[in-house]
């Protein structure tokens, strides 16, 4: 131990944030009232920040109206609202084995209520064949629910192609952009996305507790919650107007101020530049570990377009053991074990062993990557 911790768990959360984000949260905490709850300066300041962030995110994802941007605590909340808010008993849903539990568990709950699920499989690299997805669609299919990038393998899913299938068969398209929003370009109109679910604290570089969804105009989503809205006080029902319909209770205004600063940072830096940098570091690491005897890398590396994730195992060693050795001996923070994507682990054959996931940020350096490569080289050899 000793030295500076090397953080390579950015797919869980980006730990280093732009300083503008930190400053924006601190400034908001000294000046912000409750958005939509008054006409005094403090409340208006919050309302303005929240509205500006809606506009910014709407532009970022090429939505048609800032009213269709809903703020939530994270992707999980967004996905729960989306899945439980549009599906009804008797509906059929096409989804994939790549999905995270934040998609799977709400879907399994709906399955108990009479929704039928079809899971599109992948090959041993974790790649789905689009033809399989298209073949799974039936006359009673209501929606396709699909990730934009696997949190386990880092494989990127071409949501534009999936969206074209959804449009062809006129089914709803719900996208989990947890691993991609902020680093891959997302155009909800071009990609035929009806509901985009994103979190603020990963590639969007915002604070934890921020997230949201984009809902296509005209699509009605049943709210999960009802309550205070700051408007229509004497109505017994929660307002139906977007985005209030899906935003009962006080928003995380302080966090949203940070998210605003984060999206401004991403737009100023350019997401293509950031993604290219992260992919450079990922490829450097991949090239350094792929041929080490005893090391198995998972995922599809035949394409350049990948999330900045490299997942591997050393021999038959428990991934948690490798994770602990990386932490104790090299001060490298990664994520071992099971990654909340049970069906993907089944497809890769890593249910028992788990997997060691390295995920990169543009703040990582070549030196850090080289230290991580050396660590894997050394750990791949058994101590005498």
């Amino acid at each position: 131990m000793g030295g500076i911790m090397i953080y390579m768990d950015n797919a869980a959360t980006t730990m280093q944030k732009p300083k503008e984000v930190v400053q924006a949260v601190a400034a908001a905490m000294e000046s912000m009232g409750n958005a939509g709850r008054g006409a005094h300066g403090a409340s208006l300041s919050a309302s303005r920040t929240v509205y500006d962030t809606r506009e910014l995110l709407c532009r970022f994802f090429n939505g048609t109206s800032p009213r269709q941007i809903v703020f939530t605590a994270n992707s999980t909340e967004s996905l729960n609202i989306a899945i439980k808010g549009v599906l009804n008993p008797g509906d059929h849903v096409v989804t994939t084995v790549m999905e995270h539990n934040s998609v799977l568990r709400p879907l399994y709950e709906m399955e108990k209520k009479g929704v039928e699920l079809t899971f599109v499989k992948t090959d041993e690299r974790g790649v789905m064949d689009l033809a399989d997805l298209e073949a799974a669609i039936r006359p009673d299919t209501k929606a396709i629910v699909c990730t934009n990038g696997s949190n386990l393998t880092g494989n990127y899913v071409d949501v534009e192609a999936v969206g074209a299938v959804a449009a062809k068969y006129n089914v709803l398209f719900i996208v989990d952009a947890s691993q991609t929003a902020g680093v891959f370009p997302i155009d909800v109109q071009k990609m035929h996305i009806d509901i985009l679910c994103f979190t603020g604290h990963k590639s969007l570089l915002g604070p934890q507790g921020t997230g949201g969804m984009y809902v296509r105009e005209g699509l009605e989503v049943r709210p999960l919650l009802s309550g205070g809205s700051g408007v229509q006080t004497y109505s017994k029902t929660h307002p139906k107007e977007m985005p209030t319909a899906l935003e009962a209770g006080t928003l995380n205004g302080h966090g949203i101020a940070g998210l605003h600063a984060a999206v401004e940072y991403l737009m100023a830096e350019g997401i293509d530049k950031i993604r290219t940098r992260e992919q450079e570091l990922m490829w450097r690491f991949y090239e350094g570990v792929k041929d080490i005897p005893n090391v198995k890398v998972y995922g599809d590396f035949t394409t350049k377009n990948r999330c900045p994730i490299v997942t591997l195992n050393i021999g038959e060693y428990d991934s948690s053991e490798v994770g602990d050795a990386l932490l104790m001996d090299y001060d490298i923070s990664i994520r071992p074990g099971a990654h909340c994507a049970p069906l993907m682990h089944e497809a890769l054959g890593t249910v028992g062993q788990g997997a060691v996931r390295f995920s990169f940020s543009h703040y990582n350096t070549e030196e850090e990557v080289d230290t991580a490569i050396r660590a894997i080289q050394e750990l791949s050899v058994d101590e005498e």
Partner: protein
């Protein structure tokens, strides 16, 4: 990889219990640290408390003092 040693590994149902355990052990000066749960055992929570075999009584006392429901206590090579 490193050589394995026989250790005491306590698993928990939730991360909250694991964090309560770490805090209580620190306050009591009890030995050990949090490690990922080894795959030989399964648990509700991904973190387990790892200490020396000889520390079993001390660890047991801490667990009892805070009323954490440990899931299981194992002796295994980690």
């Amino acid at each position: 990889m490193r050589k394995k040693e026989l250790k005491l590994v306590v698993t928990f149902h939730t991360t909250t219990d694991a964090m309560a355990m770490e805090k209580a052990c620190k306050e009591a000066g009890a030995p050990g640290r949090l490690i990922p749960v080894p795959r030989e055992i399964s648990a509700g929570c991904g973190l387990s408390w790892c200490a020396g075999i000889e520390d079993r009584d001390t660890i047991r006392k801490v667990i009892e003092s805070i009323g954490v429901q440990e899931q299981e206590m194992h002796e295994l090579m980690v």
